[in-house]
């Protein structure tokens, strides 16, 4: 659970950084965008594997998308990086430093409740969708204007399904299956959200984002 939270926090942070980097003088930096997307991908994989692990260890109660985490203040950096991930998976060893979580994290957490409603709706529609050819880990993405982080973390939690019944066998295979299903969820998202008006503030606004999850796996390609 801790690992999941931490992975989610990193994902949120990465998306925020990516969004913020667009505002920088000199425009988007390709190298920076690539690095952010790599971290996002690792965080996502870790989150998925932790989720699988959590589900495996507590079959009766999958990590439900409870409103509690949303209402809590941003995760403190103290989250212990227990190796919930099994061997072979990317370990998450760094104990967190006592550093203030960036302000931006508060915004997503506070905005969470709204998008949660939206995502719950979408979940049912995406259930039937089957995974596509699988997400190429190195896939770069387009960052939608309205996308960014906002209800990202909550959306993620809501969307992810418990692992399918056939998820036996080697863990890596399971992760891959999850990945495929996950990307299936992504690809079924509706058309790109309306581009935000230029008057949009530099700080991420709370807005239900249709293709929020697109942002997760699709980093910025400006050129």
């Amino acid at each position: 659970m801790e690992v999941q939270k931490e992975a989610q926090r990193i994902m949120t942070l990465s998306v925020w950084k990516m969004y913020h980097s667009r505002m920088q003088r000199g425009g988007l930096r390709l190298h920076r965008s690539l690095q952010l997307s790599l971290v996002m991908r690792s965080a996502r994989e870790l989150y998925l594997s932790a989720k699988v692990d959590a589900h495996e260890s507590e079959p009766p109660l999958p990590p439900a998308p409870s409103p509690d985490p949303h209402l809590h203040p941003p995760r403190e950096a103290h989250a212990a990086a227990e190796a919930a991930a099994p061997d072979g998976e990317q370990p998450f060893p760094e104990p967190m430093d006592t550093q203030e979580a960036p302000r931006a994290e508060e915004t997503p957490a506070r905005c969470a409740p709204r998008p949660a409603k939206v995502s719950r709706k979408r979940r049912s529609s995406s259930l039937s969708d089957s995974g596509d050819a699988g997400l190429v880990p190195s896939k770069k993405a387009r960052l939608e204007e309205a996308a960014a982080e906002e209800g990202f973390s909550s959306e993620l939690r809501d969307r992810l399904q418990p692992p399918p019944a056939q998820a036996e066998g080697a863990f890596p295979n399971l992760a891959r299956v999850l990945q495929r299903r996950f990307s299936g969820l992504l690809n079924c998202t509706p058309a790109a959200p309306p581009t935000a008006p230029p008057a949009c503030e530099a700080k991420p606004a709370c807005r239900p984002a249709d293709s929020m999850l697109n942002v997760l796996v699709r980093a910025v390609v400006a050129f």
Binding site: R29, L30, L34, Q35, L46, P91
Partner: protein, 422 residues
């Protein structure tokens, strides 16, 4: 002032001049004083020689992007006449600057008065020819060439070729070869842009020509690899001649492994036999004849390995540190945080951590070695990892080509340290 943050430091080939570029697009050149018998103690101090605005902020209207004026790199050309030439670049445009001295000026024009105004022809009754008279030394910098519009992505490196006729500029995905005389075209010699940008997995992070072989250059990538290319092999050097990569140590694998393996700087040794690379935590020396692993690896600040998540949060994990060789390739130097910089002696395997700060930089003071305490009991002079100031970073350093004089840029201050002369 943000504009004063130093973004590049470079000695010229003799070490007589030291150029710095800053975030405001300015170049400041320091010149070493001539040694004089009278003032033994002022041996070889560096004083400001010339200051000029190299680049201005620009706006790309097509992409609605501002182009920063920050000077990313300065490279000197070898001196061929009385004037000095250097290349300076921002994200998009490379410029060739001529820095020359003027110590005489013409006086006694026939048709103009002392202020340059035209004289009334009726008052001209004699004929005289202007003569050159000495004047106070003036150093002027003029832009001789502007190499623009050749890079879609952000330029990270420039390197002058040993033929002194060409140079290269590298951005995230492409490397272009220029002739100094021709500004309206360049040759593309490396292009790693994939057909589908969604398949992009690595970018070019630094590039440099071999110091002696004008056909050879190397470029480093964000994946921690180095490619050596030979321009004689083909016009487009997409296929490398040599590929340097160290297999990853599985025990070091972590969440941020990929991004800390990105090489931020690559430098040939003066001999041309070795290359040195800097990634986030280490400096590595590679032998050109051995591609499968470096011959030496030096830990710059391994105590940060457990702090990577925090460093990601505060963006420090993206800092691009440079590294330099000394003149004899026996010592290498690179920067760290808290205004610390490190030197590694390749022969004795000894290393030292020094600090660039006003407090311990009185003239002729001796720098005291510093030590970072990595847990456990902290000794009196040590500093703990948690006390390090990550806003004080030394990204840019330079070493005099033949003497033990180093220049260290600490945010907006430049420190010049010299070996004590007995």
């Amino acid at each position: 002032m943000l504009a004063d943050i130093i973004s590049t430091v470079e000695f010229n080939h003799t070490g007589e001049l030291l150029a710095t570029g800053d975030k405001g697009g300015r170049v400041v050149i320091f010149q070493r004083e001539q040694e004089s018998k009278n003032q033994v103690h002022r041996r070889g101090e560096y004083n400001v020689y010339s200051t000029f605005q190299s680049h201005e902020p620009e706006f790309d209207y097509l992409k609605s992007l501002e182009i920063e004026e920050k000077i990313n790199k300065i490279r000197w050309l070898p001196q061929q006449n009385a004037a000095y030439f250097l290349l300076s670049t921002n994200d998009k445009t490379v410029k060739l600057w001529k820095v020359s001295e003027r110590d005489k000026r013409p006086e006694g024009y026939n048709l103009k008065d002392e202020e340059g105004r035209l004289r009334d022809p009726a008052t001209i009754t004699t004929l005289r020819v202007p003569v050159l008279r000495p004047m106070d030394l003036m150093v002027e910098a003029t832009p001789r060439r502007v190499f623009a519009n050749a890079h879609t992505y952000h330029i990270n490196s420039i390197s002058v070729n040993s033929d002194y006729e060409t140079y290269m500029s590298a951005d995230d995905l492409r490397i272009n070869l220029w002739n100094f005389e021709i500004t309206n075209q360049s040759f593309n010699i490396v292009d790693i842009k994939p057909a589908n940008m969604e398949e992009l997995t690595e970018v070019i992070t630094a590039a440099e020509f071999h110091p002696h072989h004008c056909n050879t250059f190397v470029y480093s990538s964000s994946k921690g690899t180095i490619r050596l290319c030979d321009m004689r092999a083909s016009a487009l050097c997409d296929r490398h001649t040599k590929f340097f990569e160290e297999p990853e140590d599985p025990s070091n694998r972590s969440f941020f492994s990929e991004i800390i393996s990105s090489i931020s700087d690559v430098k040939f040794s003066h001999s041309g036999r070795y290359i040195m690379t800097r990634d986030y935590l280490t400096v590595k020396v590679w032998d050109l004849n051995m591609e499968n692993r470096p011959i030496e690896t030096y830990q710059v600040h391994d105590y940060l390995r457990s702090k990577l998540c925090s460093l990601y949060e505060n963006d420090c994990i993206f800092d691009k540190f440079e590294c330099v060789w000394n003149g004899s390739d026996s010592v290498i130097m690179t920067g760290s945080y808290n205004n610390f910089f490190r030197m590694f002696d390749r022969n004795t395997k000894r290393d030292v951590t020094l600090e660039a700060s006003r407090e311990n930089s009185k003239p002729r003071a001796i720098l005291k070695p510093r030590k970072v305490c990595v847990g456990g009991k902290r000794r009196k002079d040590e500093i703990s990892v948690d006390s390090l100031d990550f806003s004080k970073k030394i990204l840019h350093t330079a070493w005099h080509p033949s003497e033990n004089i180093i220049a260290v840029a600490a945010t907006n201050n430049l420190y010049i340290f010299q070996d004590k002369v007995n």
